[in-house]
């Protein structure tokens, strides 16, 4: 696998994470809740299929920018950084508040970022790594503080009557504040890839310029997520994460044995178990939270990273490998060396974790 790897130290520079934040909506949706809503699977089938017991769904009044705003506020709080210092905001999402403008612009105003440029990136379940890459490149070319966020409200695009997807998805947001740092610490390397051959493996058929929303598209439920060829998607997700992991580590002359904790996207439990087997990774060095969170699309990896840091599983000096793969297909890997300041920031209890009422 050919992977273009960005290594800040190779440029004589450093990029670090100052703090992270995550926001999960309060509403817990269990498998029995889904069945009550019309899901065509039993609790046992859902567990066997994807290993998810419960997931979070946004409240009726919450949209993606509200979740993004809450996660960014926590990251800013933990970094003790005011919004006026932010140079740029990147929001990865496939479920923006509106098809136009960006969720980033709405988030930018809610955070009070003044004139900081703000834009969305679309990379589905690889979203956080794509946002992180964009933020790192901005820092390497002169920005001082950049918010990399991933947020999704996939529940609004979920067909609870669809066997293939009804149990998988949840909602959530995660964010990281990115800034310059010493070379050889923080973000050691990041690599992304895409393979458009999988563009219609997991997709929302209607509501875009290919098939605008219509009475017929809604009647035929084509405004919901469709997953064609689930088994191929299953194997492709593992290949995307394992392949980018091996390519990134190879570029750094490292192996999986050099990694303290792998923090992957959480597509479903079976995929994570296969990933561990393929990477020959002991389960204790793999962060798994899919049973509680579900697949929150691009936000999942950011939420898992925040959990790793705030729980202490990734402490100072830890080498953490982030992995993601998603629709498109997209994939990515990033290697972090957790520095003292990030470990310390992650111990700070955030204030104001609830999103403000949208304006």
């Amino acid at each position: 696998m050919s992977l273009r790897v960005l290594q800040p130290a190779a440029l004589g520079k450093g990029v670090r994470l100052a703090a992270t934040g995550a926001y999960l909506p309060a509403r817990v949706v269990t498998n029995p809740d889904l069945i009550a809503l019309g899901a065509p699977l039993s609790d046992e089938e859902m567990l066997r299929l994807c290993g998810v017991r419960e997931r979070r769904w946004a409240a009726v009044e919450e949209a993606t920018s509200d979740l993004a705003t809450a996660a960014c506020r926590i990251a800013l709080d933990r970094a003790q950084c005011g919004p006026e210092l932010i140079d740029r905001l990147v929001v990865a999402t496939v479920s923006p508040d509106h098809s136009s403008p960006s969720a980033a612009c709405i988030t930018q105003r809610a955070l009070g970022l003044q004139a900081a440029p703000a834009f969305d990136v679309t990379a589905s379940c690889s979203g956080f790594l794509y946002a992180l890459d964009a933020a790192a490149r901005a820092v390497l070319t002169g920005d001082r503080k950049v918010l990399a966020c991933a947020a999704d409200v996939r529940s609004r695009f979920l067909d609870v009557r669809d066997r293939a997807t009804c149990a998988l998805f949840g909602d959530g947001a995660g964010a990281a504040l990115i800034e310059p740092g010493p070379a050889g610490q923080g973000l050691l390397a990041i690599g992304l890839l895409a393979d458009g051959a999988g563009a219609r493996s997991v997709y929302v058929p209607a509501g875009g310029s290919r098939e605008p929303a219509s009475e017929a598209s809604v009647r035929d439920r084509r405004h919901f997520i469709r997953m064609e060829e689930g088994p191929q998607v299953y194997l492709a997700a593992v290949e995307g994460m394992a392949g980018t992991a091996e390519a990134l580590l190879s570029a750094l002359s490292m192996t999986i044995d050099d990694i303290d904790l792998v923090v992957p996207h959480q597509p479903n439990l079976r995929i994570l178990e296969r990933l561990a087997r393929v990477l020959r990774l002991p389960r204790e060095r793999l962060l798994v939270n899919v049973e509680r969170i579900g697949n929150a699309s691009g936000a999942t990896c950011a939420i898992a990273l925040d959990e790793a840091l705030t729980s202490g599983r990734a402490g100072k000096g830890s080498r953490v490998l982030l992995l993601a793969a998603g629709a498109g297909y997209t994939a990515g890997a990033a290697l972090l060396l957790i520095d003292d300041a990030l470990a310390m920031a992650s111990t700070r209890p955030p204030s104001g974790t609830r999103p403000r009422t949208p304006t």
Partner: protein, 74 residues
Amino acid sequence: METPELAIRAVLADHVELPAHDDAELHLPSLVVIVLAEELERRFGFLVAARELSPGNFGSIERLAAFVKRKAAR
């Protein structure tokens, strides 16, 4: 020694009704395809790639057996 045909039938029999003939078209639920692929990987020592989950390889017990033999021989 277990042949690929026997292994495939053994795994399938736990999940679906076996077809009358090995060349009959299989129409398997997604989860059964995954379970079958991973069980064949375990028994015969190879990894199935996403692009290999095609009807040409997984469309019948006969084609599956030929696929397993090709993979195991590499």
